[in-house]
């Protein structure tokens, strides 16, 4: 070969390959700078410079190189970065395209790739047989977590996780098509041409930068009189020009889910030097396809023999790709070890490019005659019936040891690269993900698609169709249309083997790697079988074969064959592990796509949010809502602010944003009857213009939600729910309405967001709103507590409720939401002038607790009945049916001693109990203690000038006056059981 002074590498061969010589890119690998050609992968670029050592293995830290030229690569995993925040570990050198300025580093080595301390593990490897850790590290008991595990963890792992937040963004697209074709090799392109001819919408998806699949390396296929690769590019161009076809390159179909749903990851910028700011790094496609054509090809297998993992040993097809596509030779003096004819063609191509072929070692006695004849014609030494039984070379292969099968003298042949092929494994991953069932093709020792679970069809190499004419016919038929494609090959391929090769059999102790990334050797698999692991799933888990990031694309079949041989069972009986999505790893960022930061979850804000924020509100999260929590004035902390707010509401008045409360409009002649069935209360007795507090239970009798319901007219109710309960209550109501009570003439509409709700509470509440209200007499007589009226407020149509969650005179002004801010502003201006305050949810909680009002979800959980809560009165005794009527009568719901809501007063009024604190009768009992209940609500009450608390206590109401105890970690607090009303026990203020 001509040793070229090419700056893009000494192993670059002039006139070979498909990249443009003028377009170069510079990158660094482990700090050293290299020049590559645009279109190179990191692997081809490094190989061009003769760099084969790219990484260290997971367990033994053995030097590793490049095994493949595609996504199945187990060894060459690198850390690739653009800048410190855009750093990606575990990138396959064989997939990543080089871009100018890329910083690339090897992984899992220290202090350097060529001298790695971890390689000591390789020396100790006799101790580290499969599953050794299950058998040791058990004493002393604490040492596992403190000593052994940290050491193991540090040794394991591959790349370093990113340390900074990812600044890139990602996109998502839902799409539909008639036919999705996975893989754009000959079969996929032909199927696409055929499908497109029918006018169907077609997605053609391929993981490589250009279409062509195997045509990247295969130079002997002619299609329609053209070189195969050129035909593929022409075909793609024709397809792209059709309006019904979408061609996605650099896009992996990573998952085939139910009902024709596929996940695709499109890599948009990882190969771009300076991506435009708007470009997403990757785009997730979620495609629903009526039909799927799988044209995913086949993956070449390696040979399993002693020391088959040295840098410089690679798949024959990979070497061919590097040569024919990238113009890079993998060595000057290359050996071939094969069980399949395809490797011969790699040798021919290399030979033609001027590379010396040291020998073709074929473990078969009778390889394909045509290839052997061709090899001999070229003067290449072919050793049939021979095997490579060992290799040497520390950081790169330097020789192979060849022995005639069945014995004979070992012959050491010097090589600087060894290309191998044990045949081809059809890529049935997506078929398997679609839940299709495989069959074992005994003759060719491979699994093939058999029974389909979805509307899907496999064509070409992934279907075991080896003959190119058959392949084309199959693809045309799968596309459902017509296309004229005529293709021919120079050689028909035969051969292939699975399992350990000669010299790595059961009687040897050599390290013949099956799974490179996880350092699983043939003897590990045999050990697993010896230890009783007879299911392939056990063998996989015990040895970790196939569990690395390549998911066993190369190792599964070998592992299976070795296990089957050891078990003396045919392969199908040993089983095949299930292929799981994703086909190749997918970045979390891609899967998440837009769902991050602001778009992670909707942030719901009320119409008055901006005004509240301007008034200094702190907000709290309640479900998706941001609710004003408290309104600190300058210098106030939360405690001081809340005390002020609580006092002001009771002394003067307060204004509160209650817009988040759920609202449901219940309309129809049977509305009252419907509510009778859904709430424990009776509703037919409620007069229009009046409100009632309602409790909703589910059939089990436990409190589900509560709220005030106003009757606006005979056939129209305004129902309120808790903030968090709104959607589920509506769903619950619809469920009963549509499926249990469909005869009722009633309709439900969510109006939560139709109304902005401004609660005005306190002695001056009426005075505050009076001037704005028209159309209703606000006097106590005309509009008493629990009234509702339609009127206008500040000229805006409104629903006005006379209700109170504070125990004070109170109104809730409901106005159409767009007017909320304006009305709030008007009311607040006047309220402020009268000395009232804005108050938030914290003060609302305190004020209602002072009155013993319940908060569903805080004072109750899903195990509290209305009677437990002290709301037995809200359960109609007259109704013959409502949801919950039967559940409430179950033995445990009516037994004595149930937990009931009560008040608690600490002996020291200054003590504020912790919400969630547990209550006991005897604080001195040993653990485990018998607990009577817990504190559900607890506050400092400025209005009571002491702490107050609400608690669920077993048999609580009967314990009124008793002293119980709340043991905390540092002390025990004595409490007295009381009723739940702490303020204005007579309840006169509400009628003020």
């Amino acid at each position: 070969m001509s040793a070229s002074p090419d700056k893009t590498g000494a192993f670059r061969i002039k006139g070979v390959g498909r990249h443009t010589p003028a377009r170069t890119a510079r990158f660094t690998f482990d700090g050293k700078s290299y020049t590559a050609l645009e279109g190179d992968t990191v692997a081809s670029a490094l190989l061009a410079h003769g760099v084969h050592l790219l990484g260290r293995s997971f367990k033994y830290h053995r030097p590793r190189g490049i095994l493949t030229a595609g996504p199945e690569e187990p060894n060459a995993l690198l850390d690739v970065s653009r800048d410190s925040a855009r750093r990606q570990p575990n990138v396959r050198a064989t997939v990543q395209e080089v871009f100018d300025g890329a910083k690339i580093a090897s992984q899992n080595r220290w202090p350097s790739l060529s001298f790695d301390v971890g390689a000591f593990n390789d020396v100790l490897s006799p101790f580290f047989a499969a599953g050794f850790y299950y058998k040791t590290f058990m004493w002393p008991r604490e040492a596992w977590a403190k000593l052994y595990e940290p050491i193991i963890r540090r040794a394991a792992g591959l790349g370093e996780a990113p340390k900074e937040e990812d600044p890139d963004h990602y996109a998502n697209r839902f799409a539909h098509c008639d036919v999705l074709i996975a893989g754009a090799g000959i079969a996929g392109l032909t199927a696409a041409l055929s499908a497109a001819s029918t006018g169907q919408t077609v997605f053609l998806v391929d993981e490589q930068p250009e279409v062509g699949g195997a045509l990247h390396f295969d130079t002997s296929t002619m299609i329609d009189g053209q070189n195969g690769y050129d035909w593929a590019q022409d075909a793609a161009a024709r397809l792209k020009a059709m309006p019904n076809v979408t061609v996605l390159n650099r896009t992996t179909v990573f998952g085939y889910y139910n009902h024709g749903f596929l996940g695709l990851a499109e890599r948009v910028t990882d190969h771009v030097v300076r991506p435009a700011k708007d470009l997403p790094r990757e785009r997730l496609w979620q495609v629903r396809a009526k039909k799927v054509v799988l044209a995913t090809g086949a993956i070449e297998r390696h040979m399993v023999f002693a020391n088959n993992d040295r840098p410089g040993i690679m798949l024959a097809s990979a070497a061919r790709s590097f040569l024919n596509h990238h113009g890079v030779s993998v060595g000057h003096n290359v050996g071939v070890y094969t069980a399949h004819d395809s490797a011969y063609e790699a040798a021919f191509d290399l030979h033609r490019a001027g590379v010396t072929i040291a020998a073709i070692v074929d473990c078969r006695a009778d390889p394909g005659e045509a290839v052997v004849a061709q090899a001999r014609a070229l003067g290449v030494d072919v050793l049939t019936g021979h095997s490579v039984t060992d290799t040497s070379g520390r950081l790169r292969i330097s020789s192979m040891t060849v022995v005639r099968n069945g014995g004979g003298n070992a012959r050491k042949i010097k090589v600087d690269a060894l290309i191998v092929s044990a045949g081809w494994t059809p890529s049935v991953h997506l078929f398997s993900q679609s839940r299709g069932k495989l069959r074992f093709d005994e003759a060719n020792q491979r699994f093939l698609p058999d029974i389909y679970a979805q509307n899907c069809i496999s064509v070409g190499a992934c279907n075991g169709t080896d003959d190119i004419a058959d392949l084309v016919d199959e693809a045309i038929a799968a596309g459902g249309g017509s296309a004229v494609v005529s293709a021919e090959n120079r050689f028909e391929w035969t051969g292939g083997m699975i399992g350990a090769a000669e010299g790595a059999g059961p009687d040897t102790v050599v390290k013949a790697f099956v799974d490179f990334q996880h350092d699983v050797t043939a003897k590990d698999i045999r050990l697993a079988v010896r230890e009783g692991m007879h299911s392939i799933e056990h063998i996989k888990r015990f040895t970790t074969n196939g569990m690395a990031s390549d998911q066993g694309k190369l190792s599964n079949m070998h592992g299976l064959a070795i296990a089957a041989e050891m078990l003396g069972r045919p392969i199908p009986q040993v089983g095949l592990t299930t292929f799981r999505a994703p086909y190749t790893p997918v970045t979390y960022g891609t899967l998440i796509a837009h769902s991050r930061a602001e778009l992670f979850d909707p942030t719901r804000k009320t119409p008055m949010h901006a005004l509240e924020a301007a008034a200094g509100a702190e907000f709290e999260d309640v479900g998706n809502w941001k609710r004003a929590w408290y309104f600190p004035k300058r210098g106030e902390d939360m405690h001081v602010a809340v005390n002020r707010e609580c006092r002001t509401v009771r002394d003067i008045g307060g204004v509160f944003d209650a817009s988040t409360l759920g609202k449901i409009e219940v309309v129809g002649p049977d509305a009252a009857q419907f509510l009778n069935l859904l709430y424990t209360n009776a509703w037919d007795t409620l007069k229009p213009g009046k409100c009632r507090y309602g409790i909703m239970t589910r059939e089990d009798g436990f409190i589900y939600d509560d709220g005030v319901v106003g009757r606006l007219a005979e056939d129209r109710f305004h129902v309120t729910t808790t903030t968090g309960g709104a959607p589920r209550v509506l769903h619950h109501m619809e469920d009963y309405l549509q499926t249990e009570f469909p005869h009722l003439k009633v309709w439900l509409t969510s109006t939560t967001e139709q109304w902005a709700v401004i609660a005005v509470q306190g002695p001056k509440a009426r005075e505050i709103i009076q001037p704005f209200v028209e159309g209703v007499d606000l006097s106590n007589e005309a509009f008493p507590h629990m009234s509702v009226a339609e009127c206008t407020v500040t000229g805006v149509p409104a629903r006005l409720f006379r209700v109170s969650f504070t125990g004070e005179l109170g109104f809730e002004v409901n106005v159409p939401a767009d007017f909320g801010a304006a009305v709030w502003k008007a009311i607040w201006e006047r309220a402020e002038g009268l000395g009232a305050c804005l108050y938030g949810t914290e003060s609302m909680h305190v004020l209602r607790a002072e009155k013993g009002y319940l908060i569903v979800g805080q004072d109750t959980d899903g195990t509290v009945t209305p009677d437990d809560a002290g709301y037995g009165w809200a359960v109609s005794k007259k109704k013959t049916d409502f949801v919950g009527i039967r559940g409430l009568k179950r033995p445990d719901l009516v037994r004595e001693g149930r937990k009931q809501l009560v008040g608690l007063l600490t002996r020291d009024p200054g003590d504020v109990l912790e919400e969630g604190a547990q209550i006991v009768a005897d604080p001195n009992q040993p653990k485990p203690m018998t607990m009577l209940g817990h504190v559900t609500s607890s506050y400092w009450s400025e209005n009571c000038d002491r702490s107050i608390a609400i608690a669920l206590v077993a048999g609580g109401r009967a314990k009124a006056g008793e002293t119980l105890y709340v043991p905390m970690s540092d002390r025990t607090i004595a409490v007295e059981v009381t009723d739940m009303v702490f303020f204005d026990k007579e309840g006169g203020r509400i009628h003020g």
Binding site: P89, P126, F127, F132, Y134, K135, T136, F137, M138, A145, R153, R154, A156, G157, L158, E160, A161, P162, E165, D166, D168, G255, Y257, N258, G263, Q286, R435, R530, G532, E537, A581, P582, V586, T587, Y588, L591, I592, D601, T603, E620, D621, D700, G701, F702, D861, G862, T863, R890, P891, D892, L893, E915, G916, Q918, P928, M931, H934, P967, M968, S969
Partner: protein, 417 residues
């Protein structure tokens, strides 16, 4: 049985590890046994082990449709903790946690129990109230669980984002330091080996197709794909498929079987020291000894036995994970899978007698079955041996659905994992 130790390994290393015995034997079934346990997961194998070890019953078969440990034992995210709320739950999960602490030594099998701490994130007032309720209840019950400030939480788990500007800022966390993880396969294998050593028959690839009952309704044995096998007592421990098996005996149990999904990342160097769970954003995560981030995703909404599920469940979990740990956005999902969980109406397990004499059930562990493995197995063995439940499992009976005495951790708590 060969004792496992570092010395045994050293000896075997000298002779190419050719001296190891099978960890368990795979015998042909006898015509009958004293006890048959249906389901060779951790719970079933463990029950057989404890029956042999603690109750002197060794004429046992554990019958498994597939391969042992291949159900939920081998598909979960291996979280262990005991900081539950109700006494019934605390009893069994704490019993379990205590057994975890000595399990490797008891079984002579390193199950890699790693008490690296389970931290549950609190995002709002409701979470805080709920967590403190748990913490106080746990403390008075003698179970460790402590409150951490956001800063303490980040100190315990450095990748955690505690910025106040987050969509759901963290206002604290509950930490159980004794909580952690274990190696799931090792649990099944360790129990299998120890049970097999005591004479228990583990019969794999044998599907139970019927439960034969005598004139008085009592169990007589099981029909299987390998023929009829007699037994005086049958314990059902067939997570995911409990309804199907119980139906064979005419017993209906209140269960839903749902696919629960999980995923792992590519292996990374140690970055994540503990287990973190967040119910508000629906995520839980830890890092395995191999370096994979192990992430529990959600349950698909519908009943299914398909061990698969929708992509939307995965994406929804990952957006939550990346919200908590923004540095993980460039990490890659390597593999996703699903298991079938059976879920009860109150999300607490059922372990107890059934209306059929001689038939005992252990099911409904939902998403919490792995952590309960030793405790559940130990108490299930007691139930089968004595015919009545152990004090610590008495509340887990089937009758509670009639009386309404539910153990509703989900209704009571912020976290039900």
């Amino acid at each position: 049985m060969r004792k496992y130790s570092v010395f045994a390994i050293a000896r075997e290393a000298m002779r190419a590890h050719k001296g190891w015995d099978a960890q368990w034997i795979s015998p042909e079934p006898r015509s009958s046994y004293d006890v048959i346990i249906i389901g060779a997961g951790g719970h079933g194998l463990g029950a057989a082990y404890y029956l042999a070890k603690e109750h002197g019953i060794t004429n046992i078969a554990v019958i498994e449709k597939g391969w042992l440990g291949g159900g939920n034992t081998g598909r979960n995210t291996t979280i262990i903790r005991s900081n539950y709320l109700y006494e019934e739950s605390m009893d069994i999960y704490e019993h379990s946690l205590k057994l975890w602490e000595g399990l490797s030594q008891d079984l002579n099998y390193n199950v890699m129990y790693s008490p690296r701490g389970v931290m549950m994130l609190s995002h709002n007032t409701h979470d805080m109230q709920s967590f403190k309720r748990h913490i106080n209840a746990n403390r008075l019950y003698g179970i460790d669980n402590e409150w951490l400030t956001p800063e303490q939480a980040r100190a315990f788990c450095p990748p955690l984002d505690i910025a106040k500007t987050a969509r759901y800022p963290i206002n604290g966390a509950a930490l159980q330091r004794r909580g952690g993880t274990a190696r799931h396969d090792a649990v099944a294998w360790g129990y299998a080996r120890a049970a097999s050593d005591r004479g228990v028959h583990i019969i794999q690839n044998c599907e139970v197709t019927g439960i034969r009952r005598g004139p008085n309704g009592e169990v007589q044995g099981v029909e299987t794909s390998k023929g009829f096998i007699g037994a005086r007592k049958i314990g059902v421990s067939a997570a995911g498929h409990s309804s199907v098996v119980m139906e064979m005996a005419g017993v209906r149990v209140p269960l839903h079987s749902n696919p629960l999904q999980a995923l792992v990342s590519e292996p990374l160097k140690p970055i994540f020291p503990c287990v973190v769970m967040s119910n508000t954003v629906h995520a839980y995560i830890s890092q395995s000894d191999k370096g994979e981030l192990v992430i529990g995703a959600g349950t698909d909404q519908y009943n299914s036995y398909s061990q698969t599920g929708g992509l939307q469940i995965i994406t929804h979990t990952l957006d939550a994970i990346c919200e908590l740990f923004p540095i993980f956005r460039r990490v890659k999902m390597m593999r996703q899978w699903g298991g079938i969980t059976d879920n009860t109406p109150d999300r607490s397990p059922i372990q107890g007698v059934t209306p059929v004499p001689g038939l005992f059930v252990n099911c409904g562990w939902g998403t919490g079955g792995f952590k309960a493995t030793p405790g559940s197995a130990n108490l299930f063995a007691h139930l089968i041996a004595k015919g009545e439940p152990h004090r610590l499992a008495a509340g887990l009976n089937l009758d509670r659905f009639r009386t309404g005495r539910l153990i509703d951790e989900a209704a009571a708590a912020a976290v039900a994992h």
